[in-house]
């Protein structure tokens, strides 16, 4: 097991290097001179040279990459072109909001989605099953921003129950905070839930046809036990594996949903930075996202190893 973990971590290292290299190259090649953004255009040449030196811009490329990498390991992602503040700081300020949104969405969609998927898998082609399938397909076909707009229209404007957007700090009134959280979280949860539900269902149905399930029934176990202890345990393994894909999709959804609800998270930070041509921030966010996804995939691999004895004991991948 330990060897498995070490193996996975080691594989991640070159990926991280490649990622950092790509990010650096994009930053280097992106139009816009950082210095020109900070001083007046007709400043004397010496002043410009001084600034360049200060920012370490007049050094050959490979050395710049090396310096940048060094800084990166120290936790320095550069400075924003528009605010001049450290990029990492800007990201960290926004991170809790996005984590909150994503965290709750993952939590609810996993619990509800997987449970529904199991239920549907136990009774395939029943009325409940069919209607849920059709409903889920319709939900997946509607753009998330449209669902967001519609929800705002119904709940915030027409009914006035919930605020239109934004986020109150966590330390403040909890009810208010939850009211702000409810709609954006619902949109993200809905899409991911429906997706997980279908996938779980498919796996449950596939597993239920396998020989060991027959053995379980032949042992005299109840239907609940057969499905929960035997079928589900096996069916959940591919669901866990596929979680990483769903997570990436969630990140994409977060960007749009944060934008519609004016939720002060990394998504809106990214969109604003793109509009302001603030490349260090843009690439900083992208880099952090990449790293986060890689770490998440590592964690998911670990969970898979825990749950699947074949992997744990080295019999598989």
């Amino acid at each position: 097991m330990r060897r498995y973990i070490i193996n996975r971590v080691l594989i991640m290292v070159p990926t991280l290097f490649v990622l950092s290299f790509i990010v650096f190259m994009l930053l280097y090649l992106a139009p816009g001179d950082p210095v020109m953004a900070l001083i007046t255009p007709d400043a004397p040449k010496e002043a410009i040279e001084l600034m360049r030196q200060k920012f370490g811009l007049n050094v050959p490329v490979h050395q710049r990459y090396f310096n940048w990498l060094l800084e990166l390991l120290k936790g320095n992602l550069g400075f924003s072109y528009s605010t001049g503040r450290p990029v990492l700081e800007m990201i960290l300020v926004r991170l809790p909001a996005t984590f909150e949104l994503m965290g709750f969405s993952i939590l609810f969609s996993t619990i509800i989605g997987v449970w529904l998927g199991l239920y549907m898998g136990m009774r395939p082609n029943s009325l409940a099953d069919r209607s849920l399938l059709v409903t889920s397909m319709v939900i997946l076909s509607v753009p998330q921003f449209f669902i967001s707009l519609a929800l705002i229209y119904v709940f915030s404007i027409k009914l006035g129950w919930l605020p239109v957007g934004g986020r109150t700090p966590l330390s403040g009134a909890t009810l208010e905070h939850l009211k702000h959280l409810l709609l954006p979280c619902s949109v993200l949860t809905l899409t991911m839930l429906v997706d997980l539900m279908r996938y779980t269902r498919a796996n449950v149905i596939a597993e239920a046809g396998k020989p060991y399930v027959r053995t379980a029934i032949a042992k005299g176990l109840t239907e609940e036990r057969v499905y929960l202890v035997h079928v589900f345990r096996n069916a959940s393994i591919p669901v866990i594996v596929v979680l990483i894909l769903r997570l990436v999709r969630l990140v994409g959804g977060v960007v749009v949903v944060e934008s519609v609800f004016s939720w002060p998270g990394m998504g809106t930070l990214l969109v604003n930075a793109i509009n302001n041509r603030d490349y260090p921030v843009v690439l900083g966010v992208l880099f952090i996202t990449g790293v986060a996804v890689l770490i998440a995939s590592l964690l998911i691999d670990l969970v898979t190893a825990l749950v699947n004895p074949k992997v744990r004991l080295g019999f598989e991948r």
């Binding site: 020989p211 027959r214 053995t215 042992k219 005299g220 109840t222 239907e223 096996n234 019999f315």
Partner: protein, 329 residues
């Protein structure tokens, strides 16, 4: 003395995707008595696996029992019609749990759950079906009985860590933990290599003598049947062709199909040419000649009547036959 298992006029169909139902079993009737060992012989497509699944109430959802009964006498003398029971009914669970019917499948490795240890799966059999007890002790004892030298290690192993033969022994152990009166074996050795086959067969016979259960043994191999069975039932495309005491049927086959089987086996052994023509073995069990005898088209003794009408079941000379040749004899 009442029969242990009594199957009457059992007909089962499989619903296809295009709604063309295929008959897997047609009007099959037979009995199994205590301490008997009935071998059901047939090629693939003969419906023998369907029979095993029907008796243990494990048929897939696209299978329907069209007609017939499966009457089983449990330990307390109660008569249960398995054909009328839903899969997870309390009755079925009781029968599976203790003193009823157990089954051993063909593929031992895929018949075990790969994410739980073997010991855990065996313990589940006792703990959740009927009585609790000191499961571990009991299981190690029974594993020793199966021939395992180190039961403790096996208990903690996963199925994928063990060989096919070992897994099959575990399946047998699992079946016997339920103290069955009837053990159904669905080609338990077909997926194993020859030496292991012999070991498992010998083990089954030993256990049968020791514990005194009856056996319903499904196989396509005539030699295996000869080794294991007291009685034999020959199936072809879902229809019973011949039935009777094992030695008699296999040494002196009356039905043309049984004769053909015997000849084929001998031809393989001595590389002789077949006297009868090849059946042109097809996989489907659709009764293409739905009215008459399914073997008619390939039978060298075929009469016109054979194609038009299904011969009825007739008892003669200690055997039961379905063949127009033996009507009125």
């Amino acid at each position: 003395m009442p029969q242990l298992l009594s199957v009457r006029n059992l007909s089962i169909i499989y619903l296809g995707q295009n709604q063309n139902p295929k008959y897997a079993l047609k009007d099959v009737s037979f009995d199994v008595n205590d301490a008997e060992s009935l071998a059901v012989i047939g090629e693939s497509g003969s419906g023998k696996s369907t029979l095993a699944l029907a008796i243990t109430n494990l048929l897939p959802s696209n299978a329907k029992i069209v007609s017939g009964d499966i009457m089983f006498h449990d330990v307390s003398g109660k008569l249960v019609n398995i054909a009328a029971q839903p899969c997870y009914s309390d009755e079925m669970r009781r029968l599976r749990g203790k003193g009823g019917i157990s089954i051993v499948f063909q593929e031992p490795s895929s018949s075990l759950n790969q994410v739980y240890t073997v010991g855990w799966q065996l313990a589940e059999r006792i703990q959740h079906a009927e009585n609790r007890g000191d499961a571990r002790e009991l299981i190690c004892t029974i594993l020793r009985e199966m021939g395992f030298a180190d039961p403790e290690r096996v208990y903690n192993s996963y199925p994928f860590q063990l060989s096919g033969g070992m897994n099959q022994r575990i399946m047998i152990a699992m079946a016997l933990l339920g103290e069955p009166r009837l053990l159904v074996c669905d080609e338990p050795t077909s997926a194993l290599d020859v030496t292991t086959q012999a070991q498992i067969l010998r083990l089954l016979i030993e256990l049968k003598v020791k514990h005194g259960f009856a056996m319903l043994f499904i196989t396509h191999n005539v030699d295996v049947a000869r080794f294991v069975a007291t009685h034999v039932l020959v199936l072809y495309k879902g229809v019973m062709m011949e039935k009777g005491p094992a030695e008699e049927v296999l040494e002196q086959p009356l039905h043309p199909y049984t004769r053909y089987l015997k000849e084929s086996v001998e031809a393989i052994k001595s590389a002789k040419k077949l006297l009868t023509s090849d059946t042109g073995h097809t996989k489907s069990s659709i009764l293409s000649v739905s009215q008459g005898c399914p073997f008619a088209l390939k039978c060298q003794y075929r009469l016109d009547l054979c194609i038009k009408e299904m011969p009825p079941q007739v008892d003669t000379d200690g055997r039961t036959l379905r063949c127009w040749l033996y009507q009125g004899v």
